[in-house]
Assembly symmetry: C2
DNA sequence: ACGGTTGCTGCAAAGGATTGCAGTCGCCAG
DNA sequence: CTGGCGACTGCAATCCTTTGCAGCAACCGT
């Protein structure tokens, strides 16, 4: 039913080859012919059949995006950035959600890989070995994670932690608790290290508090342990955890930031709606998605693995100070904030 | 590089046709042959080339999902449901975000339509005329909206409002304010009508408050007007608006639910994290996505427009009572809640 | 005037899977 | 013994586009 290249060719009085060239290598065809073809294309509303093109070029013009959980606002933002930028290049995006399941992830990725030119893996839960294997057999760009010889975009977690600590230390905090996320998470490790280094630089003390789910519930679970450390400020793995912290602290009657300051990471929409509004390190989420697309497209254009190594984007966080951080409470008053 | 149907055929000692049939119409081929083919497929890790198949069948095996804003948790949830259910049918999902732009929407839909077998349009912003035109030339399922002869899945807004009102009236509220969303929104209209009917049934009074953006900011903007109506309870267009309301009311020192009760609609993740936790009408978001996929697939299998008309899914909301609603304040005490 | 470019266009093959049609074989009924 | 049917399988065309190669004309330099 839709117009084919032959219809266009007939209408323009040329061969299909010429139409094809007029569209994809315009400089190779005479200006007058090109104009006739363009007119015919316009008139017929012709759009090349992607399947037929894909059959011969071996390219689908599609890319895949794999995220652990679409309902998590962080990943939703990344996805938004990805599809916006992909559209600019006339590339379609398949989105797949693994439901935080590392096992399902590799199967899904393998299946998806056949249908796309390349994949963007966002915060993959898979192990390093699986990840390398996947990167071997298909074009991959990682977001929020690094792997040998695989391009990716990451956040400068160290710098982000540096900013948070500088803010907290300036407010007089000398002992700061860290509520970690999943142990297997690349981000947890780097944020923890960054925090540790930053605190060392400022001569402040670090109190690590377990490892928790990167969720609101995780924050609720972590709160009491964070309080028990005696720290006057808490840095959470992400905003969701920080908001959970806030909820539990409120329930216990601990004032934020009066008794305890709380800092998150991500700056999701929810954070400015929290009470008190959350101080956090804003991560450019959509930007990460956009850059991932650029990186992937670059890899596709030049699949030489030598140039691919080293193609890595680093994004920087920005401290957003809201209401959840304040001056450290006077030590002389005692730390027994609980009634 | 990847195995083709010919490789499989050679290994199994049959013709490509037989391989094709063994895979897609198993009952047509001898059991023994089928087993040999299956073994060869297994050994080679063969997967049919979707482009080649699409070329001849005219089907891509892909569907498209168009949402106004992926970063909005409501749509993210729908998207999650869509892609989960689509995967079950081995259908890939293209996701596109229109950035709330009605004009961009129709262009995007037209472009996307060529690459997929059908589209799921979630809360489309486009006008009725455009929508009908699109539905004419491609397979479409609507979510959160109806249109003549186009299948879709909607929420029973009337019933949801009924539940909210019953709850509020039981708490003694007799005058209830409605904070409406965008005027062009199908949901706004139906929720408003539903609320109006429910209040009439209970002999309670309705106070309509303008039309606001369906966002946190919209809620902030609406709060003062809602208070000024003298109502003892407010029903908001959605949870985002309700949370905005909460923020502004808190800033003004108006107690929720002490002075004013607030009810939202949607039950997004944020709602139970709000302070006070938001009473809301939970809409099954992922379910809407799942049903939309089923509907679309049904249309694809039977493109007869006669059967398509009337295929419509209706989902029901569920009242979730949290902390933002309570007994109406004593009228004798006076309504001057502001200090 | 002629060999050689240069610039443009067409021919035809290729890419992988599906499917209508025809062919083969075995078997049963007449 | 033979005609015919049923069950299965293979042949070959087809879907639409891209691209290497060849053809053709005009034009340049000598």
């Amino acid at each position: 039913m839709p117009a084919t290249i032959r219809d266009v060719a007939r209408l323009a009085g040329v061969s299909p080859s010429t139409v094809s060239r007029a569209l994809s290598m315009p400089e190779m065809v005479n200006a007058a012919t090109r104009a006739r073809v363009a007119a015919a294309v316009e008139q017929l509303g012709y759009q090349p059949n992607r399947a037929a093109r894909g059959l011969i070029t071996g390219r689908t013009g599609n890319i895949g995006l794999v995220v652990p959980d679409l309902a998590n606002p962080f990943f939703a933002s990344v996805a938004k950035g990805v599809q916006a930028r992909a559209r600019r290049y006339d590339v379609a995006v398949f989105v797949a959600d693994t439901d935080e399941d590392a096992a399902a992830e590799v199967g899904l990725v393998r299946a998806l890989a056949k249908q796309v030119d390349g994949l963007i893996l966002c915060s993959p839960r898979a192990g390093d070995a699986d990840l390398s294997a996947i990167a071997q057999e298909t074009n991959v760009v990682l977001v929020n994670r690094t792997a040998e010889g695989v391009p990716g975009v990451i956040y400068d977690n160290e710098e982000g932690m540096q900013q948070a600590v500088a803010h907290l230390v300036a407010l007089g905090h000398r002992k700061i608790a860290w509520v970690g996320g999943p142990v297997t998470s690349w981000s947890t490790q780097h944020r923890s290290i960054g925090l540790s280094n930053a605190l060392y630089d400022h001569g402040a003390e670090l109190a690590r508090v377990g490892s928790f789910a990167p969720t609101y519930e995780g924050g609720i679970a972590a709160a009491d342990q964070a309080v028990a450390t005696g720290a006057t400020a808490v840095v959470a793995y992400n905003d969701l955890v920080a908001i959970g912290l806030l909820a539990r602290l409120h329930a216990r009657g601990i004032s934020v930031p009066g008794d305890l300051s709380v800092v998150g990471i991500d700056d999701i929409a929810m954070s400015r709606m929290a009470r008190p509004a959350l101080t956090t390190v804003r991560l450019p989420k959509q930007e990460a998605g956009r850059i991932a697309v650029e990186l992937l497209l670059a890899v596709l254009d030049d699949p030489d693995p030598d140039t691919a190594i080293g193609t890595r984007g680093t994004l920087h966080g920005e401290l957003i100070v809201r209401e959840s951080t304040g001056p450290a409470p006077e030590p002389s008053e005692g730390k027994k904030v609980v009634a």
